[in-house]
Symmetry: C2
Subunit: 354 residues, 2 copies
């Protein structure tokens, strides 16, 4: 992949900064990757091989990939080195950093607010990968940004394989408050209730509790900045949640009220798009009981490949105290019929769901 | 599988009742399966084949598999037909049904409260399967239950492949309030906030929001009864959540307070056991980028099978707007090293995580 970006300087060797560095490097761009934490910087440079050297001269672009609260400070320092600085950030919040950057000497047209929607519940350069952004939305707010910088930003997104999604800063902060920050706080609040739970009770945990708390594993320092930094967009959502929770507690004895709450949840859930960014698809699911040993899954997947059907989704559920597993495969309704018949014919314990 | 249960009567042809019926039938037990809803009854009987006939005479055991609020009513009706009735239930709540049953003519020793922990976010006989309970915990409260009934209950659990977990009624209700009912209400409250969300915002939804709201798809009528019926155990948990939510709103601007919340969530999450009912295991994860087409997954899984490694978990993540996918495989740390090397050697885009 050819690129017009000769040299990019990345400050912040976390998950995002290192992943961008890996992608740019694959495209032939020279990258300087820096981090305030020596361990992260070294690890990231090891990942990048020999190309992490400092001091190749002025860069085409500086990507600030630090936590949101330090963006303005990093920019002020970088300006001392390079007065012609052009910056893009990758932060999960926008209004607060942009306000702070107005207090630096950087002309505002030389700062491009962007946000690749590729976070994970893991963090650090050790979780980085050059394809982290492949096909993922990459939000950018280019109002008032100098055309040259806009071009460079789009080139970075292109190299990383991201999908441009244009939003202004307020739209961005409102959207991520709903689809990312609210779920994070809810999952953490739920997991926090588990903290003081009785061990014997927790042994009965199932997939529901595990799924609902998965993102409670997120990085505390980073998320402390994200949640507090987007408090303006987040507060009304939390207050709405608080009102609904209070109402639920007040009407907890009413089966009708609880039913109405679950129904509202059904409707909300149905509005969340599924894979490929489109509307939730209508999949058919096949549940298959297997022995929890090598080869079982392989045989099933091979059967699907031979039948020329596309597996839309796959989940493995293990069972406590017993070495059996349950595989659930999702197909288009037509494919599901084909596969179910084939699996049954070959003696698999297959159970189509509606 | 041989069994001492000749004939079992099951009232309620939902997910659980029908699944038990299918399991008993496989073991050679004659089953009468009934439902107040003619469609469910017919569908369940079709699933069972020819064995769903009514009127084979008195049964060894009656399993009441209706929603919790109708258990006492069903028992009263059944007693008119069979004064020697022995009953087990399968309800997700225990204290309330047991109280109500004390008002029927059934001697309390002839009622065995049980709860197979095998719910799904899908419901109805169409989702039933005879192996639904394989290896899953099946809670039973046998204090004061007649020995003959206790033996029959254990036989049902054995035939279904469930794992006996003994808890008294109060312990049961406290445990499920924490690990099942609280996550349900939290997921539904979160999904309810989505209901009024802007469509453009929801397009940015990722795996975090989807996982956190998965169980918000649950059946409203059934869960209306479960949540309201266990209000006594659930209320203190919801009030604790409410207090924590109020504290979070009050300190939303504080990065330190938000960090502390995420840290509490980290600790709670770490207490949730992983697969096989044991403590959370230490897996190593490999991320592999594939084309979203038949055969890719098959080739990878086959490679794992040939390498004689056991895939502990597997997730497929699709990417919006682009026909590529990301497969994440979990292995023991040793197996991960073997597989990663093999995949890389064969040219796969493999990315080990920490």
């Amino acid at each position: 992949m050819s690129t017009s970006l000769n040299h990019v300087r990345i400050v912040g060797a976390g998950l995002i900064g290192t992943s961008i560095a890996l992608a740019l490097r694959s495209a032939g761009t020279s990258v300087t990757l820096l981090d305030a934490d020596p361990r992260s910087e070294k690890l990231a440079r090891d990942l990048m091989g020999s190309q992490g050297a400092i001091g190749e001269g002025f860069e085409d672009l500086c990507i600030v990939a630090t936590p949101p609260f330090s963006i303005a400070k990093v920019i002020s320092e970088e300006l001392k080195r390079n007065p012609h600085l052009m910056v893009m950030d990758i932060s999960s919040i926008k209004s607060k950093p942009v306000l702070e950057i107005r207090d630096t000497a950087l002309p505002i047209g030389r700062f491009a607010p962007t946000h690749p929607m590729a976070g994970r519940e893991v963090s650090g350069p050790e979780s980085a990968r050059g394809d982290l952004f492949q096909g993922r939305p990459w939000i950018l707010s280019l109002d008032g940004v100098e055309p040259e910088l806009s071009r460079k930003v789009k080139e970075v997104i292109r190299i990383c394989g991201g999908v441009e999604v244009h939003r202004n800063i307020a739209e961005h902060d409102r959207a991520v408050a709903l689809v990312s920050h609210l779920p994070q706080i809810v999952a953490s609040l739920l997991a926090a209730q588990i903290e003081s739970g009785v061990v014997d009770d927790l042994e009965l945990s199932g997939a529901g509790l595990r799924d609902t708390t998965r993102i409670a594993e997120s990085d505390p320092v980073l998320w402390g900045e994200i949640l507090s930094g987007n408090s303006q967009a987040l507060r009304p959502l939390l207050i709405s949640l608080q009102n609904d929770l209070s109402a639920a507690i007040a009407s907890l004895e009413s089966a009708d009220a609880m039913q109405a709450l679950i129904e509202r949840g059904n409707r909300g859930r149905a509005k969340i798009p599924g894979k490929h960014g489109g509307q939730a698809r209508n999949y058919s699911y096949l549940a298959i009981v297997i022995d929890d040993k090598p080869g079982q899954l392989a045989a099933i997947i091979e059967l699907c490949a031979k039948a020329k059907v596309n597996i839309e989704d796959l989940a493995i559920e293990h069972t406590p105290g017993q070495e059996t597993g349950l595989i659930t495969l999702a197909f288009s309704p037509d494919d599901a019929v084909v596969v179910a018949a084939q699996l049954a014919k070959e003696g698999w314990k297959v159970h189509p769901s509606r």
